[in-house]
Symmetry: C2
Subunit: 219 residues, 2 copies
Amino acid sequence: MERSFQIQLDDIRRLLLSMGGLVERALELVTTGLIEQDLQKFAAVFSIEEQINRSHLQLDEACTNYLAVQGPVAGDLRMVVSAIKINVDLERMGDQCINMAHTGRDFVRRTTHLSVDEIRVMSRVAREMVKEALDSFVRRDMGLAQKILVTDDELDVRKQNIFESMVGQIKLNAADVEAGLDLILIARNLERIGDHATNIAEDVIYFSTGKDIRHGKYA
Amino acid sequence: MERSFQIQLDDIRRLLLSMGGLVERALELVTTGLIEQDLQKFAAVFSIEEQINRSHLQLDEACTNYLAVQGPVAGDLRMVVSAIKINVDLERMGDQCINMAHTGRDFVRRTTHLSVDEIRVMSRVAREMVKEALDSFVRRDMGLAQKILVTDDELDVRKQNIFESMVGQIKLNAADVEAGLDLILIARNLERIGDHATNIAEDVIYFSTGKDIRHGKYA
């Protein structure tokens, strides 16, 4: 990081946004891979995740340098501390995409009639949550951050529905167990991505207002 | 946080250690609950997680205050940035314990012959990893941090074995699908706890040496 002394808050914001864009792209590829049964799509996810990891290290360094050089206080300090945590969430989303790519590859290779329609919907919702979480961060948009908390509850319900539907399918036909488990695990990965987006939304509310809504503190 | 201006690095270390102890205790309760089929044990996990959450907020504030007041650089700065991230990992471990308590409660209420022996072993390994991760942090013990990375690979293999064994059981008897899924999900939660301990170990190596071993950078 040659430019360490010129690192500004704008650079930090820009890096976070670009990581978010990579996560969205990885999510899209996993879903298309499942729908089109196209193994190439999963392969592409692995190279995107490498980019996410590189950005992760770069951003960590940018934040540490900014703290060392600028010694920020108040709002700027809270913003950088939030950025350090959002960075962790984005990197973990990348890990979840990798898990999905592995499981998706297994699923496509099996012979199964199980539908991925509900997974497609969950993936779209999760993608929107990631986008909105980063938008709420950049614009300090509290309304948008609040909306994400509501959408996350919907995503949890969708995961639960997929879970129950797959258990039913497996009971009807034990041969579906591996494919059914694949979809259960992918649904859980998507739920986790929603959780990470929710963490970001909570961080946005924290650094925008100094108010901590995590762990039910927003009373 | 009345003592915000006196917050020192020792307070930060102490808070992290005490959170680690709470996670260990929660893990132990989940496992005993499964072995002894004792629903009370799961209930106790929920109150421990509330303590973890309170410590999480307190630690976040301690780190932010320390940065604002002391404006640390070099090693101390890296240490605090690591503490902010370790705090996230410990809080997520608490979440995983809650997931296990929910699933464990479901499992105990079912009529099943499925054994929890392998889960017990995984839980012991994960608990040791949490303990060692925090020890390596406090003592800046690089050898211990490296050991955790190796143990994590073992934990992943154990999870995979449970996964395959449960798929086999479900194929033999579709009535085992719910209980088998419960154990698969608990094994995955334990694997995630191992991942969080590994993140901590990587952070320890980072802040002790300034060397970033994440994403294969340790070449």
